[in-house]
Amino acid sequence: MRRVYLDNAATSPVRREVVEAMLPHFSETMGNASSLHMFGQRAKRALEKARQSVASALGADLKEIYFTSGGTESNNLAIKGVARVNSDRGRHLITSAIEHHAVLNTFRHLETEGYQVTYLPVDDQGIVDLNALEHSIRDDTILISIMLANNEVGTIEPLFEIAAFARRKGIPLHTDAVQAVGKMPVSVDDLGVNLLSLTAHKFYGPKGAGALYVGHGTRIAPLLHGGHQERTMRPGTENIPGIVGLATALDLACHDLDSEWARLAGLRNRLENGIRGRIQDIHLNGHPESRLPNILNMSFARAEGESLLLALDLRGIAVSTGSACAAGSTEPSHVLQAMGVDSLLAQGSLRFSLGRDNDEDDIDYVLDALAEIVPRLRELSPVYDPGART
């Protein structure tokens, strides 16, 4: 059976060049970067070379990059680390309603520690409400965290404006750039953020390797305590193969950023236009322009996302639902809910996320499958006529 992987926003295949760059660090240069001998020194050199590479990719200084285990850890470190160290100045935090759970649930946890959190609303295309941001600022606000691009719908947030505002107010700004890095140009100086999270496996690097950018002058405390690794900000023996993989993958991604953006956007448009042309009653979730090139979130009215996902999977096509619940559930994903998407439409949403391995034949195969599956599911969908069954 033909296999088409359209779930690259969940995770992506590791590029061959990345695997090759990682391999020696499992065996030949397997040393502990803290050891004084030559094995250790080689590991340390690989570590610092990777740090230099990541720093220049982001336009950052070497000492502003900390390696972590991935996006969740980077987000936890940034948010808890800044909130706790600044709790003497205030206990008010601001984020958005459409953040990834790694951010959202970190803030929810901080609420149990006595912090107050404002969850900013978004418009129907997923753009954070800047008016609400200005009105939510208080004297005791100590952190703003807004994602750079949304993982479910691909909307790119107006980080420049948010950063300019945060800077005027003197409040540190964190951005979860997990979906954005490697897909769009990301420069910490241009963006004007103080902290930025990224993870390797979203841009064809290995799982278990991430980084947090912490701009000079940003007050932050570590979550873990132990050795002096990562200048005590993130103790624990460094995952050198993973870090080298991260740096290599980021370097490769930045190398053909523009051409890959154009190629992916072309495929995405082919998919979107194909769906519009062949299937009735569909709805784009997200912003039509300010969006990542690789994510397309569409709602298919009167069909269930979960059923669509299964039917596609049985044909070898991997996508994900934009909806957290299904089977007649009335609870849509928190992102679609915050965007005010009708709950029945939200139930019928699918996220297609494209990647390097996809081509036009893949898109056409998916379009053919959708054209057959959607009408059939609509015929039988229990959502189609609720209450008909007694």
Binding site: S307, D313, L314, C325, A326, G328, S329, T330, E379, L380
Partner: protein, 365 residues
């Protein structure tokens, strides 16, 4: 039977696991699904592992063992709407409902069957001990008891429509439970030695009281216990905590044992009586589903079961203005309204419905 795509509802128990494995062995394209139910309904004790997320993990392990796809479907909202809400409504009305019947007709062979057909599957299969015979040429399918008399579960399936049955498979219907375990061992299924659960996945001892407390606390309002003449004998903890025919837990000291004979919802009163008052001559049944035949014009003489694995009694089943009267030839132990009465002719399931009323008989045994 031609090779088909079949969706199997897998709970992680030995029965549904073997059902999936047998269909796979016969060459069908089997798709395993687990139904995620609301949190807090996770069974405990002897029933642990059924219907909870732990059950899902067992089902996933079985699917991996026989190498079929497995999907967990989120049925939390659907279960709350289609099963818990009517379950609570029944208790509010002084009835004792049977949620397994609802779960089968509305979820497993309702929403799930719709989805399966949408996926291009011909059938939904479960691990029920019952037999379905499909007639070629679109004739009426028949539902029969499972061959294992100890485990026959056709009682819970009486309300399936012919359309639903036409798309249903019960691979265990011709097997005994011991054989099912044997097959599980032969195939090396990781759940071969797992203790059995009942069809009822959440109504255990005490379990449904918690459910009522959460979803319909008004069924647990205290009220009077009275005899049939209206004399108040004590207080109860809410009619939802009692069922007709119940003897224990009334907390009344009386000369002779007293039994619940009626739950009067409007006055929130529990009516009790003596052993003699716990026998009925006639049951009135509503929402009748005729499976083996069209609704008959004349009385039928059939065997009637009023509980799962309960003994059947001979009765005349009499159509009566859209309802059905079941006239027993001998006094029958009282049946709680809301329970299912299922009619059989031998092992053929003819039909069934929901007990809505009864006429007591005053007689000594």
């Amino acid at each position: 039977m031609a090779v088909e795509r079949v969706v199997v509802a897998m709970s992680g128990g030995v029965d549904s696991s073997v059902a999936a494995a047998l269909l796979h062995e016969r060459g069908h394209e089997v798709i395993g699904v687990g139904l995620r139910l609301p949190e807090g309904l996770r069974a405990t004790g002897a029933r642990a592992g059924c219907c909870g997320m732990a059950g899902m993990e067992d089902a996933r392990a079985v699917a991996a063992r026989i190498d079929i796809p497995f999907y967990v479907l989120d049925y939390r909202e659907a279960f709350a709407r289609e099963v818990i809400a009517p379950f609570c409504e029944a208790y509010r009305n002084g009835e004792t409902p049977n949620p397994c019947v609802l779960c089968n007709v509305r979820l497993k062979f309702g929403l799930l069957l719709d989805m399966a057909l949408g996926l291009g599957a011909g059938y939904v299969a479960t691990g029920h001990y019952a037999r379905v015979e499909h007639e070629s040429g679109g004739g009426r399918p028949t539902l029969r008891k499972g061959l294992d008399p100890e485990h026959d579960q056709s009682y819970f399936l009486y309300s399936l429509t012919p359309r639903q049955l036409a798309h249903t498979l019960f691979p265990l219907g011709t097997l005994h439970k011991g054989e099912v375990r044997e097959i599980a061992r032969r195939l090396g299924l990781p759940v071969a030695e797992k203790p059995s659960s009942q069809d009822i996945c959440f109504v255990g001892s005490g379990g449904y009281r918690e459910l009522l407390a959460k979803h319909c606390p008004d069924s647990l309002r205290p009220g009077p216990i009275a005899d049939s003449t209206g004399r108040v004998l004590g207080r109860h903890h809410g009619i939802g905590a009692y069922t007709v025919g119940q003897r224990r837990g009334l907390g009344i000291a009386a000369g002779e044992p007293l039994y619940v004979t009626r739950l009067d919802a409007p006055s929130n009163t529990i009516v009790v009586g003596t052993k003699n008052e716990t026998y009925v001559r006639t049951l009135v049944v509503r929402s009748v589903n005729w499976l083996a035949c069209d609704p008959p014009a004349a009385p039928l003489h059939l065997s009637v079961a009023t509980r799962y694995r309960g003994s059947e009694r001979a009765a005349d089943v009499v159509p009566d203005n859209g309802l059905v009267s079941i006239r027993f030839s001998r006094p029958h132990p009282i049946v709680a309204p809301g329970q299912a009465a299922v009619f059989y002719s031998g092992d053929l399931l003819v039909g069934g419905g929901v007990v809505t009323a009864y006429t007591q008989c005053e007689m000594a045994l």
